[in-house]
Homo-oligomer: 476 residues x 2
């Protein structure tokens, strides 16, 4: 049977294969997903593609709205409306926010355009047919992006605060800045209220800067809830589908992924990913984290115990497996600890364990061209594993779990540099966590615990105040 | 066909398998050697084993000669004579010197006994049946070993210098110290003269400290030449045979070897070993060495070129091979450079290159128990490769090439921290190099170039004043 290279209709056919090998080759490396996109999602995506073709960069409607933007001031209705994603934060964050903003575009029938930042074009293929998703370089207000922030007078929150915008206004500004980053305030957060969405609907250009996967809060909005449930009947598959739809590694990154996979991972009977991201001050490695990794992988039986004393005489049986452990981390100490353990001691069951780490970049960097290519390759490689362990709080891990359709074991964040007990927990859902959700009831206009409103939006395993989408019948 | 686990008669049968798995399991990992031990070598080894059984530790003859040693002074003839190897220097050096001293024992019908130092018993199995090769702990003069050195009054050289010993003496001392280390002087070097051997023959206990593979100079001694040519008709196989006869990794080390091999090397179509040992002052890694490794491996076509520009579109063909590159070094920089090159760029021929380094100990250490176990495991793993690149001057590499029966490409030692040109040369013989040979004509009693006396003892590829045994018809 020919493999389904369009992933159950998620991908459009007809793209040029050579300019983006990963799009149709991913099936050679990833197991078939047990989750099928809904027919409604597929049709929405095809519709979006048509919209993007019609309204994308340098089309007639695009040029027209840009002209309006240039002339400034308020505008009437336009053929096409846009939401611009501003490049911001680490790569994991960027991938999650792009997916969030794309979903918002789907729901609001806007065209997504992407600020290419320093390296977005190096990292990803174009996801939509014919028209680019990148904002053209001559977009009139690109030079303002850097100044956009919590204090910008153009931000929706500040315009509300200063009474410069209200529902009863006759005409809207040609653009608005939506500040949805971790440091947003209560006014910015009104983005998540239906009344405000009604107002925003009329603004042709929305510019968004965010480092949050804000999808869970969209589920709490009556105006979006129905469409979201139709799009994603399997609720925890949102990023799984949108991620696989949007994020195709560029040929350069695909080379990194496929070469690594073939050289180190392909021959194993099972692949175990361990993503180690520690948010402590120092560079590490820390002994308490080494202990945590062992406690989790051994305690949860993801990896076999070793015979420290060498007392057991294991003759490798026919059943013994070769497992490849793919570790990612900014430092090499955790990798070396696991690798040495399995080098220095036999496993009690005869399994053969190879341990691999593609890079140790030591520090998060933003300038080096290859740096984020490797980060992206590593997220993707983690997503190709059969069993995944991730670190609490890390969007890097969320991307891997989401693309891979994996419910990871999450290594808890440590308080005061001791190994948490238990060291890890299996995730209830493969969805990413929204780290800084609003706690506000738009109708009642007062604070509420937004993790208790509906069964499918709950607090995250790794961040008690975070929100994530789970399947309604999931057990926490 | 059952594999020949006795290696063409080199090994005795009948050893307990469990206490030393490596002895009979080596054939599972190493290709069959194209070099067969001569029937004469095999019979000499069996005779030696009988001698060792008869005269080894705690036998009646042993006890008797030890008594004589304790009572001191001169002695008459004894049933058994001994040569004691004193543990000294790095592990590669030790392995080569043990082989040299064992060959001397074979030629002079002495029993080899081994000073166990800190870790010899952790590293190796017993090579001889029934009786241990270790000097018993209560050997009366073990406490003197540490003080033996170039200045010791008990050394043969100093006794000659001080006229305390001569051929015409009636009785000989019960023991003599032979100082054959790199800092030995012209009197010590008389060891390599037949007349002196005639005298030494009568001394029951010879205690040797050396860090030199002194076999090549034995070939230049008329008294040994004939036996050596009979023992080793294929001249460059001396260490190849003696090394495989003597050095069986302990079960603990065998675990390190086999686990590493199975996890990282076994599945490759070809294994390439690169041993990097740099004798510069600083810790490195040095750019000139990185360049040298690339220049050698690519120039000699041991590894494929990469497509730096990404311009070639290589579709991996049916013929593309998986190559595992095993690198050893005290630091990880050279490994990372090669690994990243093959990660970041495709090979021009579609070959898939995995690069591995078991450890990076940063510094040569002598105290840590696991340190030399890993060093030994790594030498052995290098010897299991199909193609080997070694570093000039390093006995670590000599051991690997010798055990593996490999003629390595030798990375030249750099002058003034620049990449040598050419970067490497194929070795003419797999024999180790004797780094500090004597340049003396015993008959004429004057200096000569000992590398020009016979066709099968020549100067080394990596050390111009060193000597090594080559096949007479080898081309330098
Ligand atoms: N190559 C690599 N880079 C990493 C790793 N962990 C963190 N980084 C770098 O640090 C950035 C972290 O930001 P982000 O991806 O947003 O993830 P988060 O901070 O863990 O949520 C990444 O984009 C990488 O640039 C890792 O394991 N491998
Ligand atoms: N594990 C390991 N140890 C090494 C390596 N290179 C050097 N060493 C250590 O340094 C010592 C070097 O001494 P020796 O083996 O006599 O080799 P030589 O100095 O290169 O002739 C070794 O015995 C090891 O303890 C290496 O690549 N791997």
């Amino acid at each position: 049977m020919a493999k389904d290279k369009l992933l159950g209709g998620l991908l459009a056919s007809g793209f040029d294969e050579h300019s983006c090998l990963s799009r149709y080759e991913s099936i050679l490396y990833r197991k078939v997903s047990p989750y099928q996109p809904s027919a409604y999602l597929v049709s929405k995506l095809r519709n979006y593609e048509d919209l993007h073709k019609r309204c994308g960069p340098n089309t007639q409607p695009y040029n027209k709205t840009v002209e309006q933007l240039k002339s400034g001031g308020s505008v009437g209705s336009t053929d096409c409306k846009y939401v611009v994603w501003v490049c911001y934060s680490g790569l994991g964050n960027r991938i999650l926010t792009l997916a969030s903003v794309f979903l918002y575009a789907l729901l609001t029938e806007r065209v997504l355009l992407v600020d290419r930042g320093k390296d977005m074009a190096d990292l990803f293929c174009e996801p939509f047919p014919e028209k680019s998703w990148f904002l053209p370089p001559d977009f009139p207000i690109t030079n303002k992006f850097n100044s956009f922030g919590p204090k910008s007078p153009e931000s929706y929150g500040n315009m509300l605060k200063n009474n410069l915008i209200k529902a009863s206004m006759e005409s809207e500004p040609s653009y608005l800045y939506l500040h949805l980053a971790h440091d947003y305030d209560d006014h910015d957060k009104l983005f998540f209220c239906d009344d405000d969405q009604a107002l925003l609907k009329k603004v042709p250009w929305l510019i968004v800067r965010t480092d949050n996967y804000f999808v869970p809060s969209l589920f709490l909005m009556p105006s979006f809830e129905h469409a979201l449930c139709m799009l994603f009947p399997e609720k925890e598959t949102i990023f799984h589908h949108l991620g696989r739809y949007l994020f195709h590694p560029s040929n350069h990154v695909w080379g990194l992924i496929t070469r690594y996979y073939k050289a180190y991972l392909s021959k194993a009977d099972e692949r175990v990913g361990i993503q180690v991201r520690i948010f402590d001050k120092g560079p590490g490695p820390y002994q308490y984290v080494k202990n945590q990794i062992s406690a989790c992988t051994l305690g949860e039986k993801l990896l076999p115990e070793v015979d420290i004393k060498g007392s057991i005489n294991v003759t490798p049986s026919e059943n013994s497996k070769v497992k490849a452990v793919l570790m990612t981390s900014l430092v090499s100490g955790y990798f070396e600890n696991v690798r040495n353990m399995y080098w220095e001691h036999p496993t009690v069951n005869g399994d053969i364990i190879g341990v691999y780490q593609p890079s140790h970049e030591e520090q998060q960097q933003t300038e080096k061209r290859l740096h984020n290519m490797k980060a992206w390759a590593e997220m993707y490689l983690l997503s190709l594993t059969d069993v995944l362990v991730t670190s609490a709080w890390s969007t890097f891990g969320y991307v891997a779990q989401g693309l891979g359709g994996l419910k990871p074991w999450i290594l808890y964040k440590s308080e005061n540099q001791t190994t948490p007990n238990p060291p890890c927990q299996r995730a209830v859902s493969m969805e990413p966590c929204f780290h800084a959700p609003p706690f506000y009831d738009c109708k009642a206009k007062k604070g509420i615990d937004t993790g208790k409103v509906v069964p499918h939006v709950r607090h995250c395993e790794d961040i008690s105040w975070g929100l994530k989408v789970v399947d309604s019948h999931a057990e926490l």
